[in-house]
């Protein structure tokens, strides 16, 4: 009954693994130091090579830094920010959603009204405001993204918990004598993990976009540290002279997000029978 793992999905997974490997291995596979500037090598087009400095496969930026190395390190930043912020919001959101769904009553009202309010402030705006107030830094970025995005998980966890908690096997566990902790951990959590995983996947793609967007606006990863968003932000002024500064990091970002989104849709079709499409 379940869709087999198709060729397309295998390719997608492979690409994501390649991106992750590039991010992980950036220090070892980068041809150059991403921070090393050289005024002599400014805005070299892709494929430029010099006898002293070697090959610049994707060219150099306005400060003469190697673009490929900066993109590899930028991938690192994207992955770390996305993984950490998704983890923060997944944990916070799931716990609150479980609590609301299990205890119901005023606990649920309190939590869910707060969720409504959080969701009323568009996340990117709230993130922009918060980062601007506290001042941009890596930790700020992770915390702000993590702590503005949990309500989506809470909604899903709450709805799923309510649904599962009404099923007879939960009543059976109560009849067996299991306590709340056991019911939540052994009976409910494993059965709501699927939809949460789907949300986490789509959020992972969004977090990568948000990180790049905030960095593009100057509110994310701070220069000179490389990030896809800040590379593009800097490259914007030279877009007519040095298209590679915009095209390559954007292409990397776009490809990675496409892969993550395809992965998310595939998981949804597998895990969520309601939208399985038949």
């Amino acid at each position: 009954m379940r869709p087999r793992v198709s060729f397309g999905i295998r390719v997608i997974v492979l690409l994501i693994v390649l991106f992750a490997a590039a991010a992980l291995l950036a220090p070892w596979i980068s041809p150059h130091d991403p921070l090393r500037q050289s005024l002599l090598l400014r805005l070299k087009p892709p494929g430029s090579a010099t006898a002293s400095a070697g090959l610049f496969p994707l060219g150099t930026d306005d400060l003469g830094r190697d673009l490929l190395s900066r993109i590899l390190y930028g991938a690192r930043a994207s992955f770390i920010v996305a993984i950490l912020s998704v983890s923060v919001s997944l944990v916070v959101g799931t716990l609150l959603g479980l609590a609301a769904g299990w205890f119901r009553g005023w606990t649920a009202t309190l939590i869910m009204r707060f969720v409504d309010a959080m969701l009323s402030v568009p996340a990117i705006l709230l993130a922009v405001l918060t980062v601007a107030v506290i001042g941009p830094s890596f930790v700020t970025l992770v915390l702000v993204l993590g702590l503005t995005r949990w309500p989506r998980y809470t909604r899903v966890a709450y709805a799923a918990t309510l649904q599962v908690a009404g099923l007879p096997f939960i009543a059976a566990a109560e009849m067996a004598g299991a306590d709340s902790a056991r019911i939540l951990l052994r009976h409910i959590l494993p059965n709501i993990a699927g939809p949460l995983l789907v949300v986490a996947t789509s959020e992972f793609g969004l977090m990568i976009l948000f990180e790049a967007g905030l960095s593009f606006l100057g509110l994310g990863i701070q220069p000179p540290a490389p990030s896809w968003g800040s590379i593009m932000s800097a490259g914007r002024q030279y877009v007519e002279r040095a298209w590679w500064l915009t095209v390559f990091p954007g292409l990397g970002l776009f490809t990675l997000v496409v892969c993550v989104n395809v992965m998310g849709d595939w998981l949804r079709d597998r895990l969520d029978p309601r939208s399985a499409g038949r």
Partner: protein
């Protein structure tokens, strides 16, 4: 029905109150909100004087009540950078963002919803594959990248459209499409799921068993039922469009509240930023409320809840 409306109004009021509270505390996350309001290069005495003048040396609870009181009078404060009332600054930029959001919404609606219906009705075919690729692109494109590429292609290379600024309707086209791409994808996905779900219901088979063609069944029964979740999503997306304007307006130098927000952040004019966040959130809450109330008028099941 009256109870339903009352409950929905109360929920909206609670959400408004909580949003206001959240923003108040976010503004104080750095410890000293005075620092967010002074122009670059102010002396320590100037800062202290301002802190006292603005009441930031009072206890938090007193500040909070004062803040609520001001908002209750729609007093958003005075910009110390631009030396003008905050609401006036925001209001002067608002028409641009409204035009942009409207353009993006129209683009997203006229492409996304038909695409979603087509994907559901012709599922499994070439049409669905092509459209889903388009939807995937809309969903995955970073606006700051697609914006720049659009400028390069249609502005710089082809000279079809102005590259930036707000000069007549032509300059609205690119930013609208770029901003609306994500909403288009969302509408298309939601419409597809919703129509597919309705297509699988017994009443569709029953209508066909009465002699209706598939097309007639879709038009007469499916679309109305499928519209309910889609309309909700449309209302929610308007809030996201306003928020997405921050990036798109920056890329296209579009003089709306998004650009204003970024300019205010770098000019350390945080009351303006705060006002924009509050405004967008209120629009979101109001639209959400409006859709729910609209349903209660349309859907006989809600209407019937005496």
């Amino acid at each position: 029905m009256r109870r339903y409306i009352a409950r929905r109004l109360l929920q909206a009021a609670i959400a408004t109150f909580l949003v206001i509270t959240i923003v108040f505390f976010v503004m104080r996350l750095s410890g000293d909100p005075t620092l967010l309001l002074v122009p670059e290069g102010a002396t320590a005495e100037q800062i202290a004087a301002l802190r006292h003048a603005l009441g930031f040396d009072r206890p938090l609870a007193v500040q909070y009540l004062g803040y609520l009181g001001d908002l209750a009078h729609f007093d958003l404060g005075q910009s110390l950078v631009q030396r003008a009332p905050v609401w006036l600054i925001v209001a002067s930029r608002l028409p641009y963002t409204m035009a942009l959001a409207a353009g993006a919404l129209v683009f997203a609606l006229v492409t996304g919803i038909p695409a979603g219906i087509a994907m559901a009705v012709w599922r499994g075919g070439v049409t669905e594959r092509l459209l889903s690729a388009l939807v995937l692109a809309g969903q995955s494109l970073p606006t700051f990248w697609s914006g720049i590429l659009f400028i390069l292609l249609f502005g710089v290379s082809l000279h079809w459209l102005p590259t930036s600024g707000a000069d007549g309707p032509a300059s609205l086209v690119m930013p609208s499409v770029v901003l609306g791409a994500l909403a288009m994808a969302t509408f298309a996905r939601m419409t597809r799921i919703s129509v597919l779900e309705e297509l699988g219901r017994d009443y569709v088979t029953a209508a066909r068993a009465r002699g209706l063609s598939m097309g007639a069944a879709v038009v007469r029964h499916v679309l109305r039922n499928a519209a309910i979740p889609v309309v909700t999503v449309v209302a929610l997306e308007v809030g996201n469009l306003l928020a997405g304007a921050v990036i798109v307006e920056t890329v296209f130098a579009w003089p709306g509240i998004g650009q204003l927000a970024m300019q205010s952040i770098f000019a350390r004019d945080f009351l303006v930023v705060q006002a924009i966040v509050l405004f967008v959130s209120m629009v979101y809450i109001a639209l959400n409320l409006a859709t729910d109330l609209a349903y209660s008028a349309i859907d006989p099941r809600i209407r019937g809840m005496a």
